[in-house]
C-alpha cells in the first residue's frame, strides 16, 4: 500500500460527516478542539464588550450610562464569562486540539466524551447568554456570596441562572479533565516515557488533575446554594445552623486553584514556544515539571487569602499568608528558567515572541503586586478596591491572554496550513500592550486612592475622575488592538497563501504531519526516542506517511490506536475508537432538559430527563461490547497487543479512577462542610438529633460489605471461565441494601428546612442513594452482559470498572450511614 492509498483508506475510516451536519456528529479531537476554541473566543469577545461597558460607565463621575441594576449584571457576567466560558474552555480546546498530535497518537481517550463536554459547554453557555439578552443575568458578583445571593435578598431567577448554568458548563470541564488525564497518561506514542513527554503535556496533565480536585467544591457549593434557594434548606443561613462563610470556603477552595488552572496551561504554551523562538531547548525540564507540580499543590493552600477580612483568627491568617508568599517560589523558578532559556539560545523577535515579552513584563508586575496582597495588613487596606481588580488583570491577562495570543500565532499555521500574509499582528500587539498597561496601571492607582470595586458611580469630589478617564481611554486602545488581532486571524484563515510544513523549525510531533491536519493525524505512529523527535529525525513526517511506524496498515473499518505503560512508554493495549455519532449532542440536550427544568422549577420533567440520560448512557456503554473474544493484534514491528476490552485495566477503568477522584473530592468537600457547620457555625447544636436505628445501620453496612465481596467473587469466577451471574446478582443485592438504608435515612432525617443539620444529612443520604442506584444500574448492566454472552475469561474489562464503582459506593455508604447514626448511638 503506498502513501496515497493509505491516506484514502484512513480518511474514509476517520473522516467526519461533510458540511455542517458533521459538526453535530463529529467525535474527532481536531474538529472539537477547533469548535471549543472558536466558541471560547466568541465568549471572549462578549466578555470584552461587557468590560468596555464597565469602562464607559466608570469614565465619568455620576454616569447615567447604565443603572446600578444593569451595571451589577454587567460586571457579574464579565467575570463569569471570562473565567468559566473563556479561560477554562480555551485550555480545554487547546489541549483537545493539540494533545493527541503532540503525543503522537490519533485521538483522545474518550472521543464521544469530548463531544459531550463540548455540547454541555455550548448549551450551558447559551443559557447564560439568553439570561443576559433578557436582562435577567446574574447580578450578585461572580463570587455569589450568600446571603446576598439567597432567596431572601435575590428573589429573582438571575442567581439561579448562575448556579445552574455554571454547573452545566462545569460538566464539560470535568469531562475534559478526565479525558486529558487519561490521554496523557496512556495515549502516547510508543517509547515516549514520562521524561520524553513534551512539556505542554506535563502542564496539561497537572492542570487537568487540578480541575478534578478544584472544581468539585464549587459544584458542591452551587448545588447546596441552589437547594437552599429552591427548597429552603438553610446551609448558609446563620440563624438556622448554617453559615455564609461555608460558601466562601467552598468557593475559594475552588477559586484560588482556578487562578493556577488558568495560568498553568499558558505556562505550558510558553515553555513550548519560547525555546523554539530562541532556537534552543528548554532549560531545566525536570525542574520546571517539579515547579509546576509544586505550584499546583501550594495553590490549594491559599484559598483563605481571599478571606483575610472575614475575621478569621490571626494565626489562621498567618498560615495562609505564609503559604501565599511561598507560592511565589515555584513561579520564580519557572520565570528564571525561561529567562535562562533565552540566555542559552538566540531569541528572535517574531510575533509570538513579542507576546511572550508582553507576558514577562505584565505577569512579573502582577506577581509582585500579588506578593504585596499576600501580606495581611496591606490586604486589609487593598481588599475589594480597584487595586485588586488591577492585580488580578495583570495576573490573568499577563499570565493567560498574552501567552494564548502567542500560542494562536504560533499554531495558526498548523490549524490552517497557511502563511500569515498581512502584517497587522505587530501593530495589534503594540496597541494591546499599551492599552492594557494604561488601563490597569491607572486602576492600581485609583485603587490605592480608595476606589472600591464594583461601584457603579462615584462623585467628582472623590478626585478619581481624571484617572478613571485615562483608564477608560486605555481600555479602548486595548479593545482596538484585540479587534485587530481578530481581523488578522480572519484574514489569515481567508487568504490562500500556502505555508510550508513546520514553519518555526520546532521539534515537537504536532509538526510531523501535513497541515491543516488530517482526520487521523498520523498515517502510522512514531517510535519516540527523545524529547524533540523532529530535531533527531527531520524526515519523520515522510516516514510516518509511508506507514513505517506502528499501525501503518488500516484494519477493517476500525479507528485504531494504541496505549502505553505510564512510566516507560512501552505499548500495552490496542484500542478501537467509536466512530461518528449524534449520541453526545443528544445526551447533552437531555442533560440540558434536566438543568432547565430545575431552573424553571418545572419539576415533573426532571425525572423524565434523568431517565432519558440513563437510557442514553446505557446505549452509549452497551455499544462498546463484543460478542466474541478478540485475539491479540499485530501493530507492526513484530509487536502484538491485546485489545483494551480484553484487559483488566482498560481505558474505561482509568477514566473511572479519575472521575472517582473528582467525585471523592466532591464527597470530601461535603464532609468538610458538615464538620465545618458542626464545629464553627453559630446556631449549633441542632434542636433534634437523628434517631439512630440499628436495623437500618446494620442493613446498610451489610450491603456495603456484600457488594464488593460478591463483585470480587464474580470477577474471579469469570476469570476461570465459569458463569459469574451469582456474584453479580449478589453484588446487586448489596447495592439495593445500601440504597434502602440511604433512602430510610433521608426519610427519617430531622426536618431539613428547620436546621442545617437535617439539611446536610438529607443531602448526604441523597448522595448515598444516588450512588447506590448507580451501582444497581451498573451491576444490572453486568448481569445483562453476562446473560447475553458479552463476557468471557478474556472479555473481562467491565468487571474491573464496575468493581471500582461498587467499592466506591460501599466506602461512601459506610461513611454516610455512620455520620448519621453514630452520634445518636454514642449518646
Amino acid at each position: 500500500m503506498n502513501a496515497l492509498e493509505r491516506h484514502r483508506k484512513l480518511t474514509t475510516i476517520w473522516a467526519s460527516e461533510k458540511g455542517f451536519k458533521g459538526w453535530f456528529s463529529t467525535v474527532n479531537h481536531t474538529d472539537l478542539g477547533r469548535m471549543f476554541l472558536v466558541t471560547a473566543f466568541f465568549f471572549f469577545i462578549i466578555g470584552g464588550l461587557l468590560a468596555m461597558l464597565i469602562r464607559v460607565q466608570l469614565a465619568t463621575p455620576h454616569s447615567a450610562f447604565a443603572g446600578p441594576e444593569i451595571y451589577n449584571q454587567i460586571f457579574t457576567m464579565h467575570g463569569t464569562i471570562m473565567m468559566f466560558l473563556f479561560a477554562i474552555p480555551t485550555f480545554e480546546g487547546l489541549a483537545i486540539y493539540l494533545l493527541p498530535k503532540i503525543l503522537g497518537t490519533r485521538d483522545l481517550a474518550f472521543p464521544r466524551l469530548t463531544a459531550y463536554g463540548y455540547w454541555c459547554y455550548a448549551f450551558g453557555g447559551s443559557m447564560m447568554l439568553i439570561a443576559m439578552v433578557f436582562g435577567i443575568a446574574p447580578n450578585g458578583g461572580w463570587f455569589m456570596y450568600p446571603p446576598l445571593s439567597s432567596a431572601i435578598y435575590s428573589p429573582g431567577i438571575n442567581t439561579d441562572f448562575w448556579l445552574i448554568g455554571i454547573t452545566f458548563v462545569e460538566i464539560s470541564a470535568v469531562a475534559a479533565a478526565v479525558e486529558i488525564t487519561v490521554s496523557i497518561l496512556k495515549y502516547r506514542a510508543p517509547g515516549m516515557s514520562l521524561d520524553k513527554m513534551p512539556i505542554f503535556a506535563w502542564y496539561a496533565l497537572i492542570t487537568a488533575l487540578m480541575i478534578l480536585t478544584g472544581f468539585p467544591p464549587l459544584i458542591l457549593g452551587s448545588v447546596l446554594l441552589e437547594v437552599e434557594r429552591a427548597f429552603g434548606f438553610p446551609f448558609f443561613q446563620a440563624d438556622l445552623g448554617g453559615d455564609s462563610l461555608l460558601w466562601q470556603h467552598l468557593f475559594w477552595l475552588f477559586g484560588h486553584p482556578e487562578v493556577y488552572i488558568i495560568f498553568l496551561p499558558a505556562a505550558g504554551v510558553i515553555s513550548t514556544i519560547l525555546p523554539v523562538m530562541c532556537r534552543t531547548t528548554l532549560l531545566g525540564y525536570g525542574w520546571i515539571v517539579a515547579a509546576a507540580l509544586a505550584l499546583a499543590f501550594l495553590s490549594f493552600g491559599l484559598w483563605v487569602h481571599h478571606m483575610f477580612t472575614t475575621g478569621i483568627p490571626h494565626m489562621g491568617l498567618a498560615f495562609f499568608s505564609a503559604a501565599s508568599t511561598l507560592v511565589a517560589v515555584p513561579t520564580g523558578v519557572q520565570i528564571f528558567a525561561w529567562i535562562g532559556t533565552m540566555w542559552k539560545g538566540r531569541p528572535e523577535l517574531r510575533l509570538p515572541m513579542l507576546h511572550l515579552l508582553g507576558f514577562f513584563f505584565t505577569f512579573v508586575i502582577g506577581g509582585l503586586t500579588g506578593v504585596m496582597v499576600a501580606v495581611v495588613p496591606f490586604d486589609w487596606q487593598a481588599h475589594d478596591t480597584a487595586f485588586i481588580t488591577a492585580h488580578l488583570h495583570y495576573v490573568l491577562f499577563g499570565g493567560f491572554v498574552f501567552p494564548i495570543f502567542a500560542g494562536i500565532y504560533y499554531w495558526l499555521p498548523h490549524v490552517t496550513g497557511r502563511r500569515r500574509f498581512f502584517r497587522l499582528g505587530e501593530l495589534a500587539f503594540a496597541l494591546v500592550f499599551i492599552g492594557f498597561h494604561v488601563t490597569f496601571l491607572a486602576m492600581h492607582w485609583v485603587g490605592l486612592l480608595g476606589q472600591r470595586r464594583r461601584i457603579p458611580t462615584y462623585a467628582p469630589e472623590d478626585g478619581w475622575t481624571a484617572i478613571n478617564l485615562i483608564s477608560s481611554v486605555g481600555s479602548f486602545v486595548l479593545a482596538i488592538g484585540i479587534g485587530m488581532i481578530l481581523i488578522d486571524v480572519i484574514l489569515h484563515v481567508l487568504t490562500a497563501s500556502r505555508g510550508r510544513r513546520n514553519p518555526w523549525g520546532a521539534g515537537t510531533l504536532e509538526w510531523a504531519m501535513p497541515t491543516p491536519p488530517l482526520a487521523y493525524n498520523f498515517a502510522s505512529l512514531p517510535h519516540i526516542t527523545s524529547r524533540d523527535p523532529l530535531v533527531d529525525q527531520p524526515d519523520l513526517a515522510v516516514q510516518l506517511a509511508r506507514g513505517e511506524g506502528y499501525l501503518g496498515t488500516p484494519r477493517n473499518t476500525w479507528r485504531e490506536t494504541l496505549t502505553v505503560d505510564i512510566a516507560s512508554g512501552k505499548p500495552d493495549m490496542h484500542v478501537i475508537y467509536p466512530s461518528n455519532t449524534r449520541l453526545p449532542i443528544l445526551m447533552s440536550a437531555v442533560t440540558g432538559v434536566f438543568f432547565v427544568s430545575l431552573l424553571l422549577k418545572f419539576y415533573w420533567t426532571v425525572p423524565v430527563a434523568v431517565i432519558g440520560v440513563t437510557i442514553l448512557v446505557w446505549r452509549w456503554v452497551w455499544g462498546l461490547g463484543r460478542g466474541a473474544d478478540l485475539a491479540p493484534l499485530p501493530i507492526g514491528h513484530g509487536i502484538t497487543l491485546p485489545n483494551a476490552g480484553m484487559t483488566a485495566r482498560s481505558p474505561g477503568w482509568w477514566g473511572s479512577i479519575f472521575l472517582l477522584t473528582a467525585n471523592a473530592t466532591f464527597f470530601g468537600s461535603l464532609l468538610f462542610g458538615f464538620a465545618f457547620l458542626w464545629t464553627v457555625a453559630p446556631g449549633w447544636p441542632p434542636p433534634v438529633w437523628f434517631d439512630p436505628s440499628m436495623t437500618e445501620l446494620g442493613a446498610g453496612l451489610s450491603g456495603a460489605i456484600i457488594g464488593p465481596i460478591a463483585m470480587r467473587l464474580a470477577k474471579s469466577v469469570n476469570s476461570k471461565g465459569r458463569s459469574s451471574i451469582t456474584g453479580a446478582t449478589m453484588s446487586l443485592f448489596g447495592a439495593i441494601l445500601v440504597a434502602v438504608a440511604s433512602a430510610a435515612m433521608m426519610w427519617r432525617t430531622p426536618s431539613p428546612v428547620d436546621h442545617a443539620y437535617g439539611a446536610t444529612l438529607f443531602v448526604l443520604g441523597g448522595y448515598g442513594l444516588f450512588h447506590a442506584v448507580l451501582a444497581m444500574l451498573m451491576t444490572s448492566f453486568l448481569i445483562a452482559r453476562i446473560v447475553r454472552g458479552f463476557t468471557s475469561a478474556v472479555r473481562r474489562a467491565e468487571f474491573s470498572i464496575i468493581g471500582l464503582w461498587v467499592d466506591y459506593t460501599s466506602v461512601i455508604g459506610v461513611l454516610i450511614l455512620l455520620a448519621a447514626h453514630l452520634p445518636g448511638v454514642l449518646q
Binding site: S193, D195, G286, L293, A294, H314, M315, A322, A323, P330
Partner: protein
C-alpha cells in the same frame, strides 16, 4: 501509577497536615482550654507538637524517596519525586511556622 504516587505523595501529605493544623487551631479556639505543658500554654503545646509531627512525617517521606528500595527505577521520576519531596518538607516548615510565635485565637 506507582511513579505518579511517588511524585505526588509528599505534597499531598503537606496539604493534609496543613489542613489538619488549621483545623486543630480552629477547633481549639472554639473550645476554651487551659493548662500548661513544658512551660507552654496547652494550645501552643498542641500546635507545636502537631508542627513537629508534620515535619517528622515529611522527613521520613524524603528519606524513603531517596532510599534505593522505594525510589523509582526511572532517573527522571527519581529526580522529580525528590524535588516534590523537598517541596513537601519546605512547605510544611514554611507554611506552619506561625504556630511557633504568632498569637493564637486572636
Amino acid at each position: 501509577m506507582k511513579d505518579v504516587f511517588r511524585i505526588l505523595i509528599a505534597p499531598l501529605v503537606w496539604f493534609a497536615s496543613f489542613s489538619a493544623v488549621y483545623g486543630l487551631h480552629g477547633l481549639m479556639c472554639g473550645h476554651e482550654m487551659s493548662g500548661v505543658v513544658f512551660g507552654l500554654p496547652l494550645e501552643r503545646a498542641y500546635l507545636v507538637a502537631a508542627y513537629v509531627c508534620a515535619i517528622a512525617v515529611q522527613m521520613v517521606l524524603l528519606v524513603a524517596l531517596y532510599s534505593s528500595r522505594i525510589a523509582s527505577p526511572s532517573p527522571f521520576v527519581r529526580f522529580v519525586s525528590h524535588a516534590t519531596g523537598w517541596v513537601g518538607l519546605i512547605a510544611t516548615i514554611w507554611s506552619l511556622v506561625p504556630v511557633v510565635f504568632t498569637t493564637y485565637c486572636g
